[in-house]
């Protein structure tokens, strides 16, 4: 009995630190609707800054000072970058926060060096107390107290102060608040300051528990998202309950099934989202879109068609004029363009966001590899079946996902991807675990750089063109109807859920085809094809390219891949890539393709 109570308390301490990070993320999302990928970076900065301050001024001064400094960093991020993007299309700010993650990673490496830094323990709280004869570290009890106090303080602020009431009002209905004469800019800045300071506090309080390391940012961010989503986006109390749920699930889960550590949080999120589509304490968005904003259909103009034709010709001619490596790089870009085009189809035309699109890319890659390796099939059949398997996977995930919307839908796809990823890591007999599957090279007729390039070209181009035609055709029109005016579409007898489900299956099979081609081009498949960074890359390519432009995914994939390839030869290249991404976000808030076509239109009108 005593053992289980002590285990519960230990879980509670972990829950507290998780809550501090998630609470800030939840508040920021609630008010600004920004999915802040850089929140983990703020947590990491908190740990490093606290370490530096503690070396001079000791632990107790370091914690609050670090929290305030990180708050200031968050405020600066809002002022310099994010505040310029509030008018951009939905989720576009995510691209900028992704760029910030890269910049902070290299800045931290530059300032603090590569070695882990173990900070001091909390003076006065280094011992243990015995509860039911079990040793409980005093610091754990302190952390629990901090978690509960922060929850209480936020609750007091939100219900008893004018600022808190405004924040809640902004969470509920931003336009109405603006109409009532509240300047949102100040509110957003304050929100960012508080959210970032909480993340910094969380990082600083980790000092006695783990060393500050450069891996903290990406390690915490996925879990923080899970907590926010389980709790209900924007709900701080929900985040507290969710952190408790996750931490205790882990604390007791490992006693029964130690391998559970990889999936526990994501499996819990999937279950919660299926049962309660808006999280434990979340509410469905009360205000439907105020006015029906009809986005014009995505079509290529005449310039676009000519450019596309030129591009196709250039790609056909390329192997005659370019060296082997340029051919390989171009093939890579085409594969990612197809991957992104599928996601773009479901996000742009269908309004269905996915944070876990790597799931289908990975299914395609693994299906192709396993069919060749275990079933002894040829490359041709494997490439044909890769999108089929991915479509089946997408059908299963989509079945649950279409009941959700917005960020919740996105997070369910993330959970699915994460569950598949952990299966690929743990199911060693079939997938080879982290050692992957090797020796998946193309059939004899398609091997050789040029031959495989043309195969890639043929498959990806037909995939992308099919997606474009689908988006323009009847199916795309119905999908857009469901996206822009769900109520009207439903009244007209359109089965929106069925269309959305189909769109996810189509997007999934495109990703699966891309994954299959990728597997043969690299000769091997590893769990990283299913991992979060792969999903994020696809998302960034789509948003960077432009969500509402047909050429978006192609431009996005091309620019992103070329930037990464050329910059990665330089020192501190991640900061450069991050700066480039932020720069594009600031100067092309409609994405590259969107802003390009706007610029072209304006120029044409100007000269006419």
């Amino acid at each position: 009995m005593g053992f289980y109570f002590a285990q519960f308390l230990t879980g509670l301490a972990s829950a507290s630190s998780l809550f501090l990070v998630a609470a800030g993320l939840s508040i920021i999302f609630g008010v600004t609707r920004i999915v802040n990928f850089a929140h983990g970076s703020l947590f990491m900065l908190g740990a490093f800054i606290a370490y530096s301050i503690s070396q001079k001024f000791g632990f107790w001064l370091a914690v609050p000072l670090a929290a305030l400094s990180v708050g200031a960093v968050g405020w600066a991020m809002e002022r310099t970058v994010l505040s310029r993007l509030y008018g951009a299309p939905e989720l576009f700010q995510l691209v900028a926060t992704f760029g910030l993650v890269l910049i902070v990673q290299d800045a931290a490496l530059w300032i603090w060096g590569p070695t882990d830094l173990l900070g001091p323990r909390a003076p006065g709280l280094t011992g243990v107390v015995r509860i039911f004869d079990q040793p409980i570290p005093e610091y754990d009890l302190f952390l629990i107290a901090v978690g509960v106090s922060v929850l209480a303080a936020i609750w007091w602020m939100f219900t008893r102060t004018r600022f808190g009431i405004l924040v809640r009002a902004a969470t509920e209905d931003r336009e109405m608040l603006q109409a009532l004469g509240v300047r949102p800019a100040r509110l957003f800045q304050a929100t960012f300051f508080i959210g970032a300071a909480l993340a910094g506090l969380g990082g600083a309080l980790e000092m006695p528990r783990q060393p500050a390391s450069l891996l903290m940012d990406l390690n915490i961010i996925a879990e923080a998202f899970v907590v926010v989503v389980i709790g209900g986006m924007g709900s701080v109390t929900g985040a507290f309950l969710a952190a408790l749920l996750i931490a205790e699930l882990n604390a007791f889960g490992i006693l029964i099934l130690p391998e559970i550590t990889l999936v526990a949080a994501f499996a819990a999120m999937a279950v919660v989202l299926v049962i309660r589509p808006y999280g434990l304490l979340g509410r469905p968005a009360t205000s439907a879109p105020h006015a029906v904003e009809i986005q014009p259909p995505q079509t290529l103009g005449q310039t676009g068609r000519i450019t596309a034709l030129g591009l196709v010709i250039a790609l056909v001619v390329l192997p005659f004029v370019a060296g082997d490596f340029v051919i390989v790089l171009t093939a890579d870009i085409m594969i990612f363009a197809l991957f992104a085009a599928g996601l773009h189809f479901m996000m742009g035309t269908g309004g269905l966001v996915s944070f876990g699109h790597a799931a289908f890319f990975g299914i395609g890659a693994y299906a192709a590899a396993l069919l060749v390796n275990n079933a002894g099939l040829g490359m041709e059949i494997a490439l044909f079946l890769a999108p089929v398997f991915a479509a089946i996977g997408a059908a299963v995930v989509g079945w649950f996902a279409v009941r959700l919307s917005g960020v919740y839908l996105a997070m369910l796809t993330l959970a699915a991807a994460q569950i598949l990823w952990s299966a690929s890591v743990q199911w060693q007999d079939v997938t080879g675990g982290d050692d992957g599957i090797l020796g998946i090279w193309p059939a004899a007729w398609a091997s050789g750089t040029t031959a495989y390039y043309y195969l890639t070209f043929a498959l990806t181009t037909s995939g992308i063109v099919s997606l474009m035609m689908l988006a323009r055709g009847r199916f795309g029109i119905l999908l857009r109807a469901g996206r822009d005016a769900p109520a009207r579409a439903q009244a007209l007898g359109i089965d929106i859920k069925l269309r959305n489900w189909t769109a996810i299956v189509i997007a999934g099979s495109a990703a699966g085809l891309a994954g299959g081609i990728f597997a043969f081009s690299k000769g091997s498949v590893f769990p990283d094809t299913l991992a979060i960074p792969n999903s994020v890359d696809a998302l960034v390519m789509v948003l960077l390219g432009g969500l509402h432009a047909p050429a978006g995914p192609i431009l996005g994939a091309g620019v992103f891949a070329l930037l990464e390839d050329s910059l990665s030869r330089l020192p501190y290249w991640r900061a450069l890539l991050g700066a480039a991404v932020v720069g594009i976000a600031l100067f092309a808030p409609g994405g590259i393709a969107g802003s390009l076509s706007k610029w072209l239109r304006r120029r044409r009108e100007g000269t006419a």
């Binding site: 230990t10 570290p137 390391s213 490992i254 490596f325 890579d332 743990q426 000769g523 501190y572």
Partner: protein, 397 residues
Amino acid sequence: MKFPPLAAIAAVLAISVTQANAETIRIGEINSYTRLPAFTEPYKKGWQMALEEINAKGGIHGDKLEVISRDDAGKPGNAVKIAEELVKREKVALLTGTFFSHIGLAVSDYAKQNKVLFVAAEPLTDALIWSKGNDYTFRLRPSTYMQAAMLAAEAAKTDAVKWATVAPNYAYGKDAVAAFKQVLKKLKPSVEFVDEQWPALFKIDAGVTVRALEAAKPDGIYNVTFGPDLGAMVREGTVRGLYENRTVISLLTGEPEYLEPLKAEAPKGWIVTGYPWYSIDTPEHNAFKAAYEKRWGETLKMGSLVGYNTMLSIGALLEKAKSTDTDKMIATMKGLKVATPQGEIVYRAADHQATMGSWVGRTDVVNGGGQMVDWRYIDGAEVLPTAAEAKAMRPAD
């Protein structure tokens, strides 16, 4: 460090272009520099120093050695793409590098497919040279199996009978536990494994993990966690008294990369593999240590030695092969002897594994920092399976 201005970049490019026209042998090097700088930066400094030494001595039979080093950002797909670029565009004679096991495997498979020599530096997985070994791949660093076997031999000498294990939940952790169990059971059949914990890599919830281990009441604990996870395990375990009166065996913990950040809180009396650079007193190693500290102004890490030995191996290979023809280089690599700061190592012909060994000793706190004491060097050849056994584990091709 400041970002190099455009002019400097242009100058570097110009120099590399002119160098390409002179007699140079190019080596393609790939590693996860931005993903895990704590381990790959000392490694880079190690091979850079060896490279400078080789070129200062006039290169390889008068030819200058040039390394083109690239970052794979921790993605195997990137690594294969870079390998392609290095081989096809930069015309490198051979490939080297890699830290993560899966990236090592991806590059090794590329090397096999494209008939290029690959000298793997750091990846630890046994598959690289055994179950998925190929003719084109050689590996320097002692593998997971070798290091776990060294520790299992030490564990068999202790009184501990009931063992619990804790390892990160991925291939390296799984292999390290499996090898330890296998060797220990063979040496001491009475042992019993009472619990195993598999925290997610770098996301350990150390408090609950420590308590789960404690609940199993083992005599001995075998730890495979490293990096930030290790720091968390040490703190949470120490405060809860997990390590009191228990035998703790810990893989790689004696390497400076892992032991130094713990400072005065470094565990005492753990039996570990590692690299006690501060107390190795041989003329070769003293010279290496002095040169490294002079060149970089910092102390040695495990990665420094691995990087240095990697480039020494490549130098020795090219020196002896007198050719950059892949078949000739492979023939030379088999049985190649290399004089390193830790003595002579041999690349075994049977499984392409180098006999680079490891140091086994106890941890202690000396002058306010963690160090290895009572250590001895175990040559890799002592713990490797026989040539015939190793050959049997490799695919026939």
